[in-house]
Assembly symmetry: C2
Homo-oligomer: 209 residues x 2
DNA sequence: ATTATCTATAGATCTATAGATAATGC
DNA sequence: ATTATCTATAGATCTATAGATAATGC
């Protein structure tokens, strides 16, 4: 099988040899794409740049993916999926007050956005993402936003809001969370934990007024 | 002179004739670039696409600008300049309480970000903007952020904060304001005025806790 | 035999320049 | 004569495919 490298590999050796990363080729491509897409952008990154950074020649990439789009689609979904899983958990657990669950969702979301070396959240800022091609991502993101809406509505203060007011608050909170991507982009040093706590506090202050 | 069109124009006529826009050619180019950069992105927009949308052939663009970069640089600065002018005014006027000035800055900023048909704020999201080439933009943006910091510090609650706490709050408020770009991008219908007021309220709640 | 990679390349761009042309101005 | 535009194009990409090659596996 050769799942994770280890011994000798079948197939022609790579031209540019490097210390074995321990990753499978597809994962190497995803990692390379994450680095390049987040820093230079999607359109500005060529297939050659991705492949070469992953340690293979441009054409070899097509053995693993159909093109750049597939890489971006997969990276995007991997950004939201963990937040969404946690949000579903929180929605189901009504032993905990809604404010507390909302606070936890905000904090976790911010931590996930700031975690990892490549500011994956910044992928969401790419203009290409608005394309229909990434409908899958938009669907999961919409579901996440709806989880925010439900938690806000279940809050004492949120229960009193008219529908349009509730949606306004949801947009504000969701905007605050996603705004973190921008802060993190220009201030990458800020320690993630404290920032996440402060953002969650801020979200509750916005909601509870 | 022929400043704004009107009579006959000197020079070879354009190949594709259209109803006179009333704009000068350079302004036509900037408008076209704004439309395309905000929707498709910078790298994905060719000089041909910009020129053709402005009503001229690709090569003719070079009579007015040195290339795409110049267009983006000019558009970017035009995004922050009005906010910055207003922020300076507010900083100078100490007849008004700091909270009120902060509130006004937030509201105006959000309104400016949501005004206009092309979500010019979205330009700031483009990955290319991080480049040194746009240092001018970064300088004015930093000055705007510093105005926020000063106003927050002048607030009753802000006066009590340690330096690092003050900076955290500033980042949160600035992030909330810039997060508006993202909300506006996915929810362009939301009426700007009410949203701006609500965002300014939220900013004060974040600050005053 | 199977597989992962390679080299080579066709066809489609895209940018920036060179030089021609069709107006007005004098 | 001056000017704004045009057409044409060289040179530099970039994507995706075709076909060769160098490993292991049996």
């Amino acid at each position: 099988m050769g799942t994770t490298g280890g011994g000798r590999r079948v197939g022609r050796p790579r031209a540019a040899q490097r210390p074995d990363s321990g990753l499978e080729p597809r994962a190497e491509l995803l990692l390379a794409a994450a680095e390049l897409f987040t820093t230079r952008g999607y359109a500005a990154t060529s297939t050659r740049a991705v492949a070469e950074r992953a340690g293979m020649r441009q054409a070899s990439m097509y053995h693993y993916v159909s093109g750049k789009e597939e890489l971006l689609a997969e990276l995007l979904e991997s950004t939201v999926t963990p937040s969404l899983a946690y949000a579903r958990e929180l929605l189901a657990d009504d032993t905990v007050p809604a404010e507390v669950r909302l606070w936890r969702l905000c904090r976790t979301d911010v931590e996930l956005l700031c975690a990892g070396p490549h500011n994956l959240g910044a992928l969401y800022l790419l203009p290409e993402v608005r394309t229909e091609r990434f409908a899958g991502f938009h669907a999961v993101r919409a579901e996440l936003k709806d989880a925010y809406r439900q938690l806000i509505a279940a809050t004492p203060a949120g229960g009193l809001l008219a529908k349009s007011e509730l949606e306004l608050r949801t947009d504000l909170v969701f905007g605050l969370i996603e705004g973190v991507i921008l802060v993190h982009r220009s201030e990458p040093e800020r320690p993630a934990r404290a920032f996440a706590d402060a953002t969650a506090d801020a979200a509750l202050r916005i909601t509870g007024g």
